[in-house]
């Protein structure tokens, strides 16, 4: 600050405004240009999915044989081309985004809620709950993830997005649980927890009011990353034919249907996949921005 500024300060007085933790997080996030741009792209894609019936130029299953096997063209808005039945792939992708995003967000929310609860209880009380959680985590880590998911959806699923979401959430929650548990183990020893205890706060109040707010950063970051992982895994399941099944649209299923029409119609395979890549990439960038925003001391590139 130069001397001139100083003089100004003397005259007008310093306007000190307390900034909340959240204001800082917001500030740091919005400084991360790539993350903000990714967020905007994601919002657009999300809105497209949300309003799929309004946005899509054609219906999901509209068969128009006169338009069959068109390569991508501006004409008639067949930007992603059409298949042998003349179904417009742009419209199908739009509906696919709707299902795939819905499943991914569902998985992220459910697994976060479940994982946070278990992790908090395990970290706070320790003992048997903790032991059970860690042993169960060992169990899950011993089996190859995708194989377990495939087995689960073959013997238990039915191509219903909700069921697939539940199956995915049941596998994804352990990561959050371990993160929260670790944080709680160290927070438990902090003075403010002791003070709250001395003031007579109940266990529930200490967990919810005093400890959980200190874990919000890592939890949110993990949630975003789960969305990305869930999109990719659900796409793989649906592609292999054990995930979401018609009549529900899903990006992975669209790719496998495109594959079965032969590689001459390359656009049927290409565009749904590109959309998956864009979504997953943007979510990862947003997650990175959030990580930096919540914890500027740990400015590390993701391993």
């Amino acid at each position: 600050m130069g001397s001139l500024d100083l003089a100004l300060v003397y005259e007008t007085g310093v306007d000190v405004k307390a900034r909340s933790q959240w204001a800082y997080v917001r500030m740091r996030f919005f400084r991360h240009r790539l993350a903000v741009a990714s967020l905007v792209v994601l919002l657009v894609i999300g809105l497209v999915g949300l309003f799929a019936p309004q946005v899509a130029p054609y219906g999901y299953d509209d068969i128009r044989l006169e338009d069959a096997t068109r390569s991508p063209t501006l004409e008639g808005w067949h930007l992603f081309g059409t298949d042998q039945l003349g179904r417009d792939y742009l419209s199908r992708v739009v509906f696919g985004i709707r299902t795939s995003l819905w499943v991914a967000v569902f998985v992220a929310l459910v697994s976060t809620a479940l994982g946070t609860t278990v992790g908090a209880l395990a970290g706070y009380y320790g003992g048997r709950v903790d032991n059970l959680l860690m042993r169960f985590t060992d169990l899950i880590l011993t089996l190859p993830g995708l194989a377990v998911l495939l087995t689960a959806s073959v013997f238990f699923g039915s191509g219903d997005p909700l069921k697939i979401g539940v199956i995915l959430a049941l596998l994804f929650w352990t990561a959050v649980a371990r993160i929260v548990r670790g944080l709680f183990l160290s927070l438990r020893e902090k003075e403010f927890v002791e003070a709250a205890k001395a003031a007579g706060a109940s266990d529930l109040r200490i967990i919810v009011r005093h400890m959980l707010p200190n874990c919000v950063g890592p939890i949110i970051v993990n949630t975003t990353l789960v969305v990305a992982a869930a999109i990719l895994v659900e796409a793989a399941l649906s592609f292999l034919g054990f995930g979401i099944q018609p009549p529900n649209a899903a990006l992975g299923k669209l790719i496998s249907e495109g594959q079965s029409e032969g590689f001459e119609l390359w656009w049927l395979v290409t565009f749904p996949g590109l959309v998956i890549v864009v979504i997953a990439l943007c979510i990862n960038f947003v997650g990175d921005g959030l990580r930096d925003a919540f914890d500027p001391t740990q400015r590390r590139v993701r391993a």
């Binding site: 011993t142 993830g145 796409a235 590689f263 996949g273 990439l281």
Partner: protein, 324 residues
């Protein structure tokens, strides 16, 4: 050290038994294993009854589990549901094929990733560093099955434009593969695309990790000390920094084995390679719990062994680690 290994192995056996019981219960409770048989025409009641008798399908699940364990231990996992194929010989064959694929892919992935990671760290914020970061983010966001399909699309397009089949897009060998060196070359030619697909995810995550680990080491005190005492830069980076930065990668590569198997399932299915992944996929398609169980047990054992090897190797490489 020995007692540590024994303790870990004993614990692993308990975990394996628990996991097998959970999966078995899960698979048995849901769905009717005979569903496929029932809708097949011209299957006599007697042959259905034979399957039920052989696999004890009319018993309660814990009893069935016990029969399965007996079969698995005494009888090399027994046979498939219909009893027409013993499981273990098939598993051995596909494991051999998958091993070739995975070994080549992982070896190349580690070499490439270490190179990229170290160079990115040494030239932090350079064009190369940014390019490597971008590519690895892309690699982590790309579904492997789609990447495999895109490579196939590319090969087909090239064939249609120029008439050259640069790579085969399916199976492990040509029909007329020949023998000896011709067979090996033919196999290698077929494995190029699958190896590339499997490598992508590994290179992306390993190189990020290597970069972070190298950066951490470069900024540590002992590297500064090495510089301060006048060692040549090459010696500092290669001997003092690089060797220590490699350590965490050992754990990562070993722990990545489970994820890698996921990639194998997808890749082998797309390229129809006769390996573990395709075997598993086909077992799922057939709705047959027995090969699925055998597959899961074999892979779970491998994952446990890999984790143990990683721990032991880490202790051997880093004398600060103690087992107790």
């Amino acid at each position: 050290m020995l007692s540590y290994v024994v303790r870990r192995l004993l614990y692993s056996v308990v975990v394996l038994v628990a996991a097998s019981f959970l999966v078995f219960t899960f698979v048995s409770v849901s769905g009717d294993p005979l569903a496929q048989l029932r809708i097949t025409p011209n299957v006599s009641e007697q042959s259905k009854q034979n399957v039920i008798d052989r696999k004890h399908l009319d018993e309660p699940i814990p009893v069935r589990y016990w029969y399965w364990v007996k079969d698995a231990v005494m009888n090399q996992f027994g046979t498939t549901l219909l009893g027409d194929r013993p499981i273990l010989p098939d598993l051995w064959r596909v494991m051999k094929n998958t091993l070739q694929l995975v070994l080549v892919a992982e070896l190349l992935a580690v070499l490439i990733a270490v190179g990229i990671g170290v160079y990115s760290a040494l030239r932090q914020y350079s064009v190369f560093d940014y390019a490597a970061t971008t590519v690895s983010f892309l690699g982590l966001a790309t579904p492997l099955f789609w990447l495999a399909l895109m490579l196939q699309v590319l090969v087909v397009q090239i064939y249609e434009q120029t008439g050259h089949r640069i790579f085969p897009i399916a199976s492990l060998n040509s029909v007329d593969a020949g023998s000896g060196i011709h067979f090996v070359l033919d196999r290698a030619h077929h494995l190029v695309l699958p190896v590339v697909v499997l490598m992508v995810a590994s290179v992306a995550s390993y190189s990020r990790y290597m970069r972070a680990s190298m950066l951490e080491v470069i900024n540590s005190d002992y590297v500064r000390t090495a510089r301060a005492k006048g060692l040549p830069e090459r010696r500092v980076t290669m001997k003092h920094a690089f060797r220590n930065a490699l350590l965490p990668l050992v754990t990562l590569v070993a722990l990545n084995f489970g994820t890698l198997l996921g990639g194998v399932i997808v890749t082998e299915t797309v390229f129809s390679l006769d390996g573990m992944g395709l075997y598993f996929y086909n077992a799922l398609l057939a709705n047959d719990p027995y090969p699925v169980m055998a597959w899961l047990m074999v892979t779970a054992t491998m994952i446990i062994v890999f984790n143990l090897i990683a721990d032991i190797a880490y202790g051997y490489l880093d004398p600060r680690v103690r087992y107790d």
